[in-house]
């Protein structure tokens, strides 16, 4: 169904300029739409998918346009040299800007893009060799094999070929290993770091991708208009590009083309109609666009494209998005060597965490051996999850040390700890709800492949991608969710989502697995299945650290238990020992004596 629509669209694009009745004005308008679509495609990847935004994409369009304008007029080079310069320059500028701003909070990027857009705007207006406020006229047309694209209906084909290519690139990119990382930036950056995703790198990638597409658009613009001047690269144009992305549908690739079409058509009509109605030449489209944007953000934050798609889907009664089956891979992913049974894997030595005056974790020590399930239990607020976050590098330690396979990891980032083979789940489920279950789990295997951006854009990483997806499928089948591969993760029950998290942690191929309340929200039978999966993993030599409140589950499964209360270890031993330990009983049940004061005193004495 989707392919059919695409075919119709391409036929429409090809026939439009060839058809003799098409007004010249339409072709010009289509050219503007195509050029804007390129810029907006970049914004879709950056804003809708990556959760970052830029108000200054017009600056990159300007850099591309002025680069080729200068080179092809004053310097006398071919427009193709201009293309190269446009791409390189926008790459460099966006890379530097990304590096500088993206380790700070997300809102510094849009603020700095406003500043950069103004800087370039005033530079164009004042630099003599760029023609100051008059700009650069007389830009030669692009030539392909001696054929000049002078006429609007000729460059039209080049513009739309680039648009379709960019659509294809963007789809490939988002449907790949780097794409899953980019899609995690918006709502799961911390989680992604725990699976070894270098989130800052992918933020820069998304920003540079958007910048370079805008540079390409600028190159086309310069040779289509055959003149450039500062006014079309001002901040208002930058804002307009963002409006196109948001109104069209900031998370959908085709929403970029749709949004550009909508805004540019509307702009044209408003400029035609309003002066007749109100006898004014004021920029009424600014008021209209501003209000429409606010309404869209209030009532349809995904933009108009998804609404259109749903409408068509209901009308034709077919699902437009068919799940793609998991492709076959040439071989399975290689696995890490498992440590010898009984070898000490994790040594936690006197770790301590203070939040201001509160001691959340008070000098806790324990060891985990290969092939062992260790339970960490204690009442709510005992510091179990904080201990987890200390081991996995989410929080820095106040003091103490953590060694994994003999290596000190206390000072490492969660990303590096993941790379050593520590997989984890989260107390509050952190899946990407709009991604399929399969893709969520494949994100866990991020570190087991190294496909780069270029390979992904060109879609030449098929085998590696197939390996990752096969691995994700294998882990999902292992935990009993083989029937839900293509379901959106957000549609699963909370219990199932917890199991997806376990599959994602397993996809990392960990030596040590840290599970934070995996059985919460599961039914009795599901708990039994989970227990058998976990003991199966133990038999393969996996070490597991488990935080859990279901005592029945914990006592049956674990080899060894550490009990915490108020940040302090109050007991340690086998499940049998713990069950009869008076201090533990007191912490859980409030002691034999009903008097609260006495029971707290007694516990203090036992520490």
């Amino acid at each position: 169904m989707k392919r059919l629509f695409l075919a119709f669209f391409i036929i429409f694009l090809v026939v439009l300029p060839v058809f003799p009745g098409t007004p010249e004005f339409w072709i010009n308008q289509m050219n503007s739409i195509g050029i804007a679509s390129l810029v907006v495609l970049g914004l879709v990847v950056l804003t809708g998918v990556g959760g970052l935004t830029s108000f200054g994409q017009a600056a990159f369009v300007g850099i591309g346009a002025y680069a080729t304008a200068y080179l092809s007029t004053t310097a006398g080079y071919s427009p193709w040299v201009g293309l190269l310069a446009a791409l390189v320059l926008t790459f460099v500028v966006s890379y530097i800007l990304g590096q500088v701003t993206l380790s700070l909070s997300g809102h510094y990027l849009p603020l700095s893009t406003i500043a950069v857009c103004l800087v370039f705007y005033y530079l164009y207006g004042n630099l003599g060799f760029l023609g100051r406020h008059d700009g650069i006229p007389g830009i030669p047309p692009i030539e392909i094999f001696g054929f000049s694209l002078l006429k609007a209906k000729h460059i039209y084909f080049l513009i739309w070929a680039f648009v379709l290519l960019a659509v294809w690139f963007s789809k490939n990119l988002l449907d790949s290993r780097p794409g899953r990382a980019i899609r995690s930036l918006k709502s799961g950056a911390g989680m992604a770091e725990s699976f070894g995703v270098h989130t800052k790198y992918y933020k820069v990638v998304a920003f540079v991708y958007a910048g370079v597409l805008a540079g390409l658009a600028g190159w086309l613009y310069a040779h289509e208009q055959r003149a450039v001047s500062p006014s079309t690269f001002g901040i208002n144009y930058g804002i307009e590009y963002l409006f196109m992305a948001v109104i069209g549908g900031s998370a959908s690739i085709w929403g970029a083309v749709f949004g550009s079409t909508l805004i540019l058509t509307m702009k044209d009509h408003i400029q035609d109609i309003v002066p007749q109605l109100l006898n004014t030449s004021a920029n009424f489209e600014m008021v209209v666009f501003g209000i429409v944007m606010v309404l869209i953000l209030h009532h349809a934050r995904e933009g108009l494209w998804p609404i259109l798609v749903n409408f068509v889907a209901r009308f034709t009664g077919s699902r437009l998005v068919q799940p793609k089956p998991v492709p076959a891979a040439s071989s399975a992913l290689p696995q890490r060597n498992r440590p010898q049974h009984g070898q000490v894997i994790l040594e936690v030595d006197n770790i301590r965490k203070e939040f201001g005056g509160l001691v959340a974790v008070n000098d806790i020590s324990f060891n985990i051996k290969a092939g062992q399930i260790m339970g960490l239990i204690g009442p709510n607020g005992a510091g179990k999850s904080t201990t987890f976050n200390l081991i996995t590098g989410v929080y820095p330690l106040t003091s103490g040390s953590v060694r994994f396979m003999g290596q000190e990891i206390a000072a490492l980032s969660s990303r590096k700890i993941a790379a050593l083979g520590v997989g984890r789940t989260f107390q509050h489920v952190q899946l990407l709800p709009t991604m399929s279950v399969l893709e969520n789990v494949a994100l866990g295997a991020h570190l087991r492949a190294n496909t780069g951006i270029v390979q992904s854009l060109l879609h030449i990483e098929r085998d590696s991608e197939a390996q990752l997806l096969q691995e994700a499928k294998k882990q999902l089948e292992r935990v009993g969710l083989g029937n839900y591969l293509y379901e959106q993760a957000g549609n699963l029950s909370l219990g199932q989502q917890r199991i997806v998290e376990i599959a994602r942690a397993l996809a990392l191929d960990p030596t040590l697995l840290l599970l934070d309340e995996p059985a919460a929200g599961l039914r009795y039978k599901e708990k039994q299945e989970l227990a058998s999966v976990l003991s199966g993993l133990r038999d393969e030599g996996m070490s597991i650290l488990l935080v859990e409140h279901d005592m029945d589950f914990v006592m049956r499964l674990t080899n060894h238990l550490v009990v915490m209360d108020f940040g302090t270890r109050i007991a340690e031993g086998t499940p049998e020992q713990i069950q009869v330990n008076p201090v533990v009983l007191e912490a859980y049940l409030g002691g034999v004596d009903d008097d609260l004061g006495i029971s707290i005193d007694a516990k203090g004495a036992n520490v």
Binding site: A115, L118, L242, F289
Partner: protein
């Protein structure tokens, strides 16, 4: 923006090949200080809005524009278009209120809404021309300006931000840029494209301080800024509402749990920020020609200052903004054509420094 004295000196220096010396530097500093304190007001209210509501209020500068142009048109003896803006906002809000009542909201608030959204704007629509016909003093005109412009702040919050108040910083930021865009468009519709300058000052005359000539008007601006910042400090330190806003800034959920609503703090913040914006506009239009777009640039320069303070520190933001004013005055002297390039270009090294100094910053979703 043109720093008048600095620009004058720049042209003089071109003719007489005058070099920078201490006397020129002092004049430039003085010039930069006067615009710098306006930027400082912007920076402080931007930080205020951000910490309380998480909104990066890009449209702050439009309140400067609206204040400046409403005042300038009145000072010129005209009738500002802004008197229509308030009824427009009011009608939109009242219709929205009616819709909510239709959907089952309590009717009791309807009378209050009628008063605030319909009666008040219509009263001003009638009263402002009547008062203006008596040819009142500049002070009365400034007061009328505040009556017309400041209510737009809370109204804007209710219209644009309140329905998405709990969404991400990113969403709020995009709402802000949309609001900015719409307000600039409205500014053009209501005020036209020409620039305005109020030549008649609140105070006439000059005084000699530190071997520099100061106009009373510039001392008035500096004094007002100090007074505004001082009263904000008193408001936050001593009053219940001020403390409520501070509580919201520290912990939104906690503040809600003890009964400080997001809605109340939002309306109050936007009232304050509109007040500061309109006052800044009234003050600055006697130094600088203001067009419908100038406010945005003034607001952005406040932003550069606020960014120096990391969008959280009031004193750093204020000092950063004053520094921007002074740097602007000096660049006007040295390289007039490139002063905007330099002033906005400062953002990059500032952010670089911040990202080196601040090791880890949590993104708030």
């Amino acid at each position: 923006m043109a720093n008048v004295q600095a620009l004058l000196l720049f042209y003089l220096s071109k003719e007489k090949k005058q070099k920078m010396d201490w006397s020129i530097a002092k004049i430039l500093m003085q010039d930069g200080l006067v615009t710098g304190v306006i930027y400082a007001l912007m920076a402080v209210s931007l930080v205020l809005v951000f910490v309380v509501t998480r909104i990066i209020f890009i449209a702050q500068g439009e309140f400067v524009t609206f204040g400046a142009l409403t005042f300038a048109i009145m000072a010129d003896g005209g009738k500002p278009g802004t008197i229509w803006l308030l009824p427009m906002f009011g009608v939109a809000l009242f219709l929205k209120e009616l819709y909510f009542v239709h959907k089952g909201k309590d009717r009791k608030t309807l009378l209050k809404s009628l008063g605030v959204f319909i009666v008040y704007p219509l009263f001003l629509l009638w009263a402002v021309p009547v008062v203006l016909a008596t040819d009142p003093s500049l002070w009365v005109k400034a007061f009328l300006t505040l009556l017309l412009v400041v209510p737009l702040g809370p109204m804007l919050y209710r219209l644009a931000y309140e329905p998405v108040a709990e969404h991400s910083v990113l969403t709020l930021l995009i709402v802000s840029i949309a609001v900015h865009y719409a307000l600039v468009g409205l500014g053009l519709v209501f005020f036209g494209a020409e620039g305005w300058l109020v030549s008649e000052p609140f105070f006439d005359g000059t005084v000699e301080i530190a071997s520099l000539t100061w106009t009373y008007q510039s001392l008035f601006v500096i004094g007002m800024t100090v007074a505004i910042i001082g009263s904000l400090w008193l408001f936050f330190g001593k009053t219940l509402y001020g403390r409520a806003l501070r509580a919201t800034a520290v912990n939104r959920r906690g503040a809600r749990l003890v009964g400080i609503g997001t809605s109340m703090s939002g309306h109050l913040t936007f009232f304050l920020t509109a007040l500061v914006g309109a006052l800044s506009g009234i003050m600055i239009v006697s130094f600088i020609t203001i067009t419908y777009e100038t406010g945005f640039m003034i607001g952005l320069k406040g932003f550069v200052g606020a960014i120096i303070g990391g969008l959280v520190s009031y004193p750093l933001a204020a000092f950063g903004a004053i520094a921007i004013g002074i740097i602007e005055a000096f660049t006007t002297f040295w390289a007039s054509d490139y002063k905007e390039v330099i002033v906005f270009g400062i953002v990059i090294p500032v952010l670089l420094l911040r990202s080196i100094l601040v090791k880890h910053e949590e993104d708030e979703e």
